[in-house]
């Protein structure tokens, strides 16, 4: 009982707490996600500022180059002078509308730098098929992958410049036609000096028309970027379709561009974080801020740069506690709430438990008192009974009236004995039953008990009808069984005297023996059938009014029956109440007298 209560109380405390904790956890998690999201958004915004600075540099560069390209006279001297004056230009090139390269040409007039440029950009001039194939989406990835793989002559068209608009007109026929077109105008091939280093390799290049896909692009767009990888990393080429239809462009001086970007980006000051501009391999090109990330530290945010530098990215590193400040406070509040609820629930549980314990103790004390008193009553009562019986014997045949009075004393003292026996049995409830089962003759016990009640039944006009018999003994405690039967008959006497008869039916099979005690009194309403075995329960107050009783008779009876491996049940009956006592039949082997007694 105590254990059940404890478990119930624990459930009462833990259940709601667990539920609350789960809800709070979910809420906190949601909040954390939200804050994390907001934090990342904030970081993204910070990175976005830096990206804007870079985009601005690129934008200025585009404008500067576009103007320069438009205004430069297309002759070698003019182009070279343009190169000399532009820190961001490493090499300029010019092609005609069909994409045939006009400058630089690898002829005798070419400088070493120009030859180097043609070598660097050979992919662009030769690999026209590739140029057409590299799409906007895969271009970037392919470039990165190849860069990682160390292929140095790879190039790609970033999304911005290529678009998805590569001309479908670059059909094989067109290509062939262009290859076969007369090159007289552009074949400014001269006899190269014998010691010219690349004369042999590059001399055919002067005649080969340049990549027609560049021309194709120029048909659709006015200007754009081409990115490719060479030796130290990303190289950029800016091209523009001039007003006169020529395509001119410039290779960007990588170091100078980087210098401009670094100059445009913030220097290290008091920033607690660290922002890194990283190349395609993740190597830092420039960084600012005071945070010192560990080797394994992952960036809190990452933002790719805008084309044509989309291979590069901005990475944000920062101290973690720079992150959401609101979170700890809300977590604290939630924990506080949970704690308070837990304390209140625990307090309630403790309160209930103490109340219950107190009640239990008081009840135990009362029971103990009653038990003691009952014990004290037992001895004088036995004496009273003994002497009353002796008195009745003495008066037998001498004085009938006196004998009858003595019989009443006996009967009443017997009733009192039963009461006390019940009280004592009840006080032993819950303790293990003493092992006193042994085979005995049930019929004899029933007869004795009925005889016992004989005077009382006669007085109330109750007729006892016995049916059936138990030819074999039952295996049970005889005293306890007697007490059960006495309790049942006592109930009949008390509540069903009006029924006029009580039927006692015994039935036996090899395993079970049943005793049914049935009266024809008011019976027990169906709704209360279950509860009649509960202690201190009395079926109907109107019925029990004026009837004495402790309300523990049936409880004790059932307990006793069960302790002996049997049971006591209320079975449905047409009228009145019918109780059925089941007891185990004694096995044949254990009872050699069974046969003889039959």
């Amino acid at each position: 009982m105590r254990r059940h209560l404890l478990i119930a109380l624990i459930c009462m405390v833990v259940g709601p707490l667990a539920l609350l904790a789960a809800l709070a956890g979910k809420m906190l998690q949601d909040e954390e996600t939200l804050l994390g999201h907001r934090f990342r958004e904030l970081l993204g915004q910070r990175l976005d500022d830096s990206r804007s600075a870079i985009t601005e540099v690129i934008g200025d560069l585009e404008v500067e180059l576009a103007q320069g390209i438009e205004s430069t006279p297309i002759d070698r001297e003019g182009l070279r002078a343009f190169e000399r004056g532009q820190p961001l230009v490493r090499q300029v090139f010019v092609a005609d509308a069909e994409g045939r390269r006009l400058h630089p040409l690898a002829d005798g007039e070419a400088s070493q730098d120009e030859r180097d440029f043609l070598e660097r950009t050979r992919a662009i001039w030769e690999a026209r098929a590739e140029l057409a194939r590299v799409g906007p989406a895969e271009g970037n990835e392919a470039g990165r992958a190849l860069a990682r793989g160390g292929v140095d002559s790879t190039w790609t068209l970033p999304a911005s410049s290529a678009g998805s608009l590569l001309p479908s007109s670059a059909s094989p026929q067109a290509e062939v036609a262009q290859q076969q077109a007369p090159q007289a105008v552009y074949a400014q091939q001269q006899a190269l000096p014998p010691n010219s280093p690349v004369a042999g390799e590059t001399s055919p290049e002067g005649q080969v028309p340049a990549a027609d896909s560049l021309a194709g692009l120029a048909r659709i767009r006015e200007q754009g970027w081409i990115a490719w990888y060479w030796e130290e990393g990303l190289h950029l080429l800016f091209w523009r379709r001039r007003a006169d239809g020529l395509i001119a462009g410039a290779e960007i001086e990588r170091a100078a561009l980087l210098q401009r970007l670094i100059a445009a980006l913030p220097a290290t000051g008091e920033q607690a974080s660290l922002i890194v501009v990283a190349d395609a391999q993740g190597e830092p090109l420039y960084q600012w801020g005071n945070h010192e990330p560990d080797d394994a530290e992952a960036p809190l945010a990452r933002l790719g740069l805008a084309p044509p530098l989309e291979a590069w990215a901005l990475l944000y590193y920062g101290p973690e506690d720079d992150a959401p400040l609101a979170l700890p406070t809300s977590r604290f509040v939630v924990l506080l709430g949970l704690g308070a609820t837990a304390i209140v629930l625990l307090g309630l549980a403790v309160f209930f438990y103490r109340e219950w314990s107190r009640n239990m103790r008081e009840a135990r004390e009362r029971v103990s008192f009653v038990t003691q008193v009952s014990h004290e009553l037992k001895t004088p009562l036995t004496n009273i009974r003994l002497y009353a019986e002796l008195l009745a014997d003495d008066l037998g045949g001498v004085d009938d009236a006196a004998e009858e009075r003595a019989a009443v004393i006996v009967s009443e003292s017997q009733r009192l004995s039963r009461l006390i026996a019940n009280v004592l049995t009840f006080s032993r409830r819950g303790r293990p039953a003493s092992e006193r089962a042994r085979p005995f003759d049930l019929d004899g016990l029933v007869r004795a008990t009925v005889d016992h009640f004989g005077p009382a039944f006669r007085e109330r006009g109750l007729e006892v009808v016995r049916r059936g018999a138990a030819p074999r003994p039952v295996l049970a405690d005889e005293d306890a069984t007697g007490q059960i039967l006495a309790n049942l008959l006592s109930n009949v006497e008390k509540y069903a005297a009006g029924g006029g008869a009580v039927e006692i039916e015994v039935e036996q099979d090899p395993r079970r023996t049943r005793v049914r005690v049935r009266d024809h009194g008011p019976g027990i309403p169906p709704g209360l059938r279950r509860r009649v075995f509960e202690p201190f329960f009395r079926a109907r107050s109107d019925l029990t009014e004026g009837v004495s009783g402790t309300g523990i008779g049936l409880t004790i009876a059932r307990d006793l029956a069960r302790q002996q491996g049997g049971d006591l049940e209320l079975v449905p009956a047409d009228d009145g109440a019918c109780f059925e006592l089941t007891l185990p039949t004694a096995p044949e082997t254990t009872d050699p007298h069974g046969e003889s007694q039959r």
Partner: protein, 439 residues
């Protein structure tokens, strides 16, 4: 007879080379080692083209300076190095004029702009920033220089000397860090007339990178083995900066038909057909910086005069603020007489040529030593020393004599333990000879 002929030839060459007029503050010099050559055979002639700035008498007349000091403050600079660097920088400040611009950038793995471009008149603020520098961290050299250049670019004007002084004692390890990458940055800066002077401190820096950066941007390069050298080097550097008389000199040498260019010594130049062009970012007053061109000349007819080259230069004269143009024509004369040819030889050009060739060989020896071929490098240096000795005796040139001694000393110092230092010494000397640096 021959003497008279020789004198005539000399006169002719002087006349032909004579300046048309000295218009600006640069004197354009162009002369060949052999104004008179033997006819009837292919020949290689050496043409020396140099720019010499006029001495500035009045220091108040010098062009304003826009200077960025880029200090390495990586962990290795801690202690005396950084302290000396700070005091040297402060002394530099003292010698600038109040209207000059100065910015101070310090870098380790990150870059701090300690003083954005500011007038020197705010000396206290600048000094405080310099003195507050503390050494710590790694070396983001590229980014440091980039920020320095960025500060100079903020106030980029035509008539001023733009200069970044980089002081580093370590190898770049954050961001681009190859000599080539830094060289490209230098080249881009040169186009805007921003020169970068690199000062290597101690034995930890990458001399190739520092030399490339200085060379491509047309700055100076110095090697301070010890921090105590810094003050002297900074002073010498400032001497150069304050003596700049012209900037962005573009020199174009058009060789005459029949003359084929073979190579250009001492400076990077662009050869396109028969035209050679190179730029010299800064022309210092009182200093001549020259290149040597080797060209092949076809067989001529004795007695004939033939133009060799036309040399043109355009530059921005900082004293007048004007763009100036200057032109020289160099001619050759063919003869049958060996004596006449020999007599007409110009020793100073021959000395310069010998010097440049020996310098090339010194470079080659360094490459050999880099590849681990110590013995061959040693042999080459010794041969170089002998070659220089002989020439020194022939032309009675103490300069060549000194170079011979340097080479023989190089030959003795190729062993592993001293190599790091020796390599820096050699690179520095090679660069010094290439650009005829004054310190």
């Amino acid at each position: 007879m021959t003497r008279r002929l020789a004198a005539l030839a000399a006169l002719a060459s002087v006349l032909l080379c004579a300046p048309e007029a000295i218009a600006g503050s640069i004197e354009l010099r162009a002369e060949t080692a052999t104004p008179v050559v033997l006819a009837g055979q292919m020949r290689t002639v050496v043409l020396k083209v140099g720019l010499r700035g006029l001495d500035i008498a009045d220091s108040a007349a010098r062009a304003p300076i826009n200077l960025a000091i880029v200090l390495d403050k990586s962990g290795s600079m801690a202690g005396e190095k950084l302290e000396k660097a700070k005091t040297s920088a402060l002394h530099l400040l003292d010698r600038l004029r109040p209207d000059d611009l100065v910015s101070v950038v310090a870098y380790d793995g990150r870059v701090r702009v300690l003083v954005p471009a500011t007038r020197v008149s705010e000396r206290r603020r600048i000094a405080e920033a310099i003195l507050g520098v503390q050494a710590h961290g790694s070396t983001a050299l590229f980014a440091g220089v980039s920020k320095g250049v960025g500060e100079v670019r903020k106030f980029l004007r035509q008539n001023q000397v733009n200069r970044v002084i980089l002081l580093s004692d370590g190898k770049a390890n954050v961001g681009p860090s190859s000599p080539n990458a830094l060289g490209r940055l230098g080249a881009a800066c040169a186009k805007e007339r921003i020169a970068i002077t690199t000062v290597g401190l101690g034995l930890g820096y990458n001399e190739d990178l520092m030399v490339q950066l200085a060379m491509r941007s047309d700055g100076n390069h110095a090697f301070a083995a010890d921090a105590s050298d810094l003050e002297r080097l900074f002073a010498a550097e400032l001497g150069d900066i304050t003596s700049v008389v012209a900037q962005g000199a573009l020199v174009r040498i058009d060789l005459a038909p029949g003359v084929r260019p073979m190579r250009v010594l001492n400076r990077e130049a662009m050869i396109t057909g028969r035209t050679i062009t190179y730029t010299q970012g800064q022309v210092y007053g009182g200093q001549e910086k020259f290149v040597l061109i080797e060209a092949e000349v076809g067989p001529g007819v004795a007695g004939a005069d033939q133009p060799l080259a036309t040399v043109t230069t355009t530059y921005l004269d900082l004293l007048s603020g004007q763009s100036e143009l200057d032109r020289r024509v160099v001619a050759l004369r063919f003869t049958d007489s060996v004596m006449e040819a020999d007599a007409a030889m110009v020793p100073s050009v021959l000395v310069a040529h010998t010097e440049a060739i020996a310098n090339e060989r010194n470079r080659l020896a360094l490459d050999l030593r880099d590849r681990g071929e110590v013995l061959q490098a040693q042999r080459l240096l010794q041969a170089n020393s002998d070659y220089l000795d002989e020439a020194a005796a022939r032309y009675a040139s103490p300069k060549l004599k000194k170079q011979a001694l340097d080479n023989s000393s190089d030959a003795k110092n190729l062993d592993a333990e001293g190599w790091n230092r020796q390599r820096k010494v050699m690179r520095k000397r090679q660069y010094e000879l290439d650009v005829q640096q004054s310190f």
